[in-house]
Symmetry: C2
Subunit: 226 residues, 2 copies
């Protein structure tokens, strides 16, 4: 990855299709990583490629994944397998007059590299904090921190953002000139992952009020953009 | 894949972690496939594993992916590479009193197999129709169908659902008994991909009214569940 939005670092991460949609700079990647909620991790296990959804967190130019020590995907990453981590945010549907030009508005970040096992306890704690903070900023200070036993049974891997690309599709439909006169409705439908009302744990007879950081987070996700 | 929700067909698709969350039957997979909007396709290209977001459609027990003939992922699939197609629907965040027990409510389908190139023109048309219908049911009849040239330059691959598993996490937080007395807020926050108002193509001076199938679709996606 480079600071330049123009040059791809290698053939693997170069966006080939719709190359005008591709960016390789750090800021573009972070925007997508911070907007996404989960990632899809791909690696090759004995039987072939697998793609698994996982939570993640970011600290600087490193993203962290975690899981129980029995998790096969995590174990594969832990042992240094080549991997790809993809984060996709769906922003809307694009309906054109032709079936052919239908599309999806989205932002994606595709990262390549080898994950590194995080063994250092301080980094492990920081990574787990980052994963909780990625879900809801402000949350980690309002929880019981991991016990030594919980830390021990959790695998954490770090993924340095050495190589990757961001891709963004936005705006209305492409159309062939000859299709513009057709009377099919055309345009876009915005989509956003929206939060409902927080539901307190039913075991709480007198649940504490919804904390500010959480109602703020839900409020920010309470309506589709535009 | 079997009709039984209990038995996994092979080691690869067996859900190992939280095995009580895994199901292998056809109905469970289709529920997730029909609820999802995009999939993440993993395969191994020359440089290593890649995971790419793609639109998809389903016809019976076969899912279809499409792309331009220059698309490297599609070409890999077209040539019969082993692949994994994963669809994930995020349903909410799960906040526990302990950082350790935070989780995400989700439904995922993870499918393994080799994609087959679709060469037959009728099947190709049916596949492209299915992909448009997967976006918005009813839409395909309200578009200009693909021209012979558009068909020719579009690669379509079919993916038979021979092996896969669905995994669902729902409900409130797990807690250690000792944590139940802590006064951190705990519970879940529902999340749903919600549609905003359809925005007509700005090139349309007098856009046709939003068609019923589209306003119905947007209405069904206009508020978070619960």
């Amino acid at each position: 990855m480079t600071e330049s939005p123009e040059s791809a670092p290698s053939g693997r991460s170069r966006v080939r299709r719709k190359a005008d949609r591709g960016r390789y700079d750090w800021a573009a990647l972070c925007e997508v990583l911070d907007a996404g909620l989960i990632c899809h991790v791909g690696l090759v296990l004995e039987a072939g490629p697998v793609v698994i959804p996982m939570a993640y967190g970011r600290v600087d130019r490193r993203i962290y994944l975690h899981g129980a020590s029995g998790n096969a995907t995590l174990r594969g990453l832990f042992s240094g397998a080549e991997a790809c981590v993809t984060v996709t945010v769906v922003d809307g549907l694009v309906l054109s007059r032709s079936a052919f030009n239908h599309s999806v508005n989205y932002r994606s970040a595709v990262l390549f590299g080898r994950a590194e096992a995080v063994q250092d306890e301080a980094e492990k704690r920081a990574a787990l904090t980052a994963i909780v903070e990625h879900m809801v900023p402000g949350r980690s200070a309002d929880t019981r921190p991991p016990s030594p036993e919980e830390l021990r049974t959790t695998l954490v891997v770090g993924f340095s953002l050495a190589e990757g690309s961001a891709k963004v599709r936005s705006g209305g439909p492409l159309e062939e000139a000859a299709d513009l006169g057709l009377d099919h409705w055309a345009g876009q439908v915005p989509l956003q992952l929206v939060a409902g009302e927080p539901i307190p744990d039913r075991r709480d007879d007198a649940p504490p009020p919804v904390p500010d950081y959480l109602s703020q987070w839900a409020e920010n996700r309470s309506r589709p953009s535009r």
